[in-house]
């Protein structure tokens, strides 16, 4: 039985843990930071369109930190580490993914050396998110694979230990490096462990990079725009000049730039997805994640959604006027959020940013 550690106990993480637990083919540990005491005592209350109403549900093990989870692994270690936190590469050091997962990788290395491969599954937005893990954990020293999880799910933590899932779970799981046969095998195995016929939908993703560029059509163009103006998607569309400008001057040009960047590395995203992603939430009064984060005063996944694509575009000589404007404006909003959280200091007397 595989041992799985799920990190991040928001709407995504808890439903991921529940889905694996439901199948009963793995041993599930969940790291619950803020609601630990509550969950340990009373378990979760979950209203799920996939699994019904659950009261007092707990996975096999609950920990308040990754360190505790790593320590408690004793001679077993973890086969899978599923990361469902937001990926904020410009955030505080302790919230960056390599630092979050480090205790597990170190423990597995100490326990098993080259025997146990740790499969790191990133259920997260953005492009190039695997690279900082490859950069920080040399493959001669650590034995691991990095897997991609792309998820569509309408699931939110609506209170302490309380999850509401209103959109069916649809997960695509694959290997960031399709040449890595261990990773491909582990991804397929995860799909099997996660699949609950009639409840959720999970599939093996043979083209992770393609899928991630495709999802960026939505996130780089629509998620970002809603965050800037603070409106749900249908309002953005309807409030444009002649009800047209948001689509024709913002969403579509931004998406065409993503398609051009993907093409510059040989990945062809079909033009029809521009229409598909514009229509997908046209009638859903729904605020995408970056918009919600801004309103909640939380850092946005700006760099993995917009910064990384623009950096690739620069290297490959692809012009990105629309994406760059969105980025240069959102960088300011992100800094505003950082200042509110005390992550940067601005001195009003000298009117300048204080370097750390």
């Amino acid at each position: 039985m595989s041992k799985v550690l799920v990190i991040g106990a928001g709407g995504v993480g808890v439903i991921a843990a529940l889905s694996l637990w439901f199948k009963r083919e793995s041993d599930i540990s969940l790291v619950v930071r803020s609601d630990y005491d509550k969950v340990l005592k009373h378990g979760y209350t979950i209203e799920s369109c996939d699994y019904g109403h659950l009261e007092g549900w707990k996975p096999d093990h609950v920990y308040s930190t990754v360190e505790d989870a790593a320590a408690d692994a004793n001679n077993k270690g973890y086969d899978y580490v599923v990361v469902t936190t937001k990926n904020i590469i410009d955030g505080p050091a302790d919230s960056r993914v390599p630092n979050i997962i480090r205790p597990v990788l170190e423990k597995n290395k100490k326990l098993h050396g080259a025997q146990l491969t740790t499969h790191i599954l990133l259920i997260q937005n953005g492009i190039d998110i695997e690279k900082e893990i490859w950069a920080e954990f040399p493959s001669e020293e650590y034995k691991y694979t990095v897997l991609s999880g792309i998820q569509l799910i309408g699931s939110t933590k609506i209170g302490a230990g309380h999850i509401s899932q209103i959109g069916k779970d649809h997960l695509s799981c694959g290997a960031f490096d399709p040449q890595d046969t261990a990773a491909v095998h582990a991804a397929n195995e995860f799909v099997r462990m996660y699949n609950n016929e009639g409840h959720n939908f999970v599939e093996f993703d043979p083209r992770v990079r393609y899928s991630r560029w495709k999802k960026l059509l939505y996130n780089a163009a629509i998620n970002t725009s809603t965050a800037l103006v603070g409106l749900d998607v249908p309002r953005c569309l309807e409030f444009g000049v002649d009800k047209k400008s948001t689509e024709s001057e913002l969403f579509h040009p931004a998406m065409r730039e993503i398609i051009a960047i993907a093409a510059s590395e040989g990945i062809i995203i079909e033009e029809e997805f521009i229409t598909m992603f514009t229509e997908i939430t046209r009638k859903k009064v729904f605020k995408p994640s970056m918009c919600v984060d801004r309103e909640k005063g939380q850092l946005m996944e700006l760099e993995v959604i917009l910064g990384n694509p623009i950096r690739i575009a620069k290297e490959n000589g692809v012009p990105t006027p629309t994406l760059s404007m969105l980025y240069n404006l959102l960088v300011l909003v992100q800094a505003k959020l950082k200042e509110q959280k005390g992550l940067l200091k601005f001195d009003e007397v000298t009117a300048s940013l204080l370097d750390k």
Copy 2:
């Protein structure tokens, strides 16, 4: 003695009324909407860097509406109507400038026919603001001129009947139509009536269109950007990528586009003003008007600052990628403000804007 009616009793309007009153060369009426009762009883409390501390100050006449002011004008009428309200051409009908001044023009017309010329001085931001007045009041029917007031002043209403002026008043006054000799004469006369040696600074503006394009460098590029991200100017500059992107990717390109639009109608704005306007508030922890309006939930002067320049650019075939992006985003923010004020209705069930 000229009769002057000042409309709008915010930081700009009250100091304008005070400056004219101080000189004692005109009879000053002020339309005070929200603070009427308070001002009528107790007058204004004013802390002014130009005129010192005043307690219980009142102009010669105070009215709560323009209609009352027009009615009370009896057989004199008004020589000057000074409009200091915000110019929101996409706002509610009764707040649009032609509708605001209509009672005075009608009264003057009834009293004097072609005898009295009404000089309409617009102390307001933006370009093409005179045109809707020309369009709504045919010159065969109404005898009037339209004058331009461009003001630099740090003056704010900080409470009911309470004005704080911290930046010296600098007013440029000229004729929108430099061929209109009556307008040029009236502008010069106003400068004389407004000028208080050693207190304020006022000058005749021989090139109104040039001056307005010049001021738009700041307003179309900087005022707009701050409104989108909700930050003062130094933070916008310091929070950019490498502390550079706001300047190099937002402010400067937007200003160059304004220069190009002005050039398309034969007006040359010198490049050096790009640096001047970038530097002017680099060290001032200060939020420009549109940023303040958004935060207060008030409509922004978006159309006269950004919509009109872009429309001119379109007619003249000038590309405006930066300004158009700012505009297409701010149109959404403006609609959000309109929805908050009940000026438009969005139906969440059909996810669509309800037409009036």
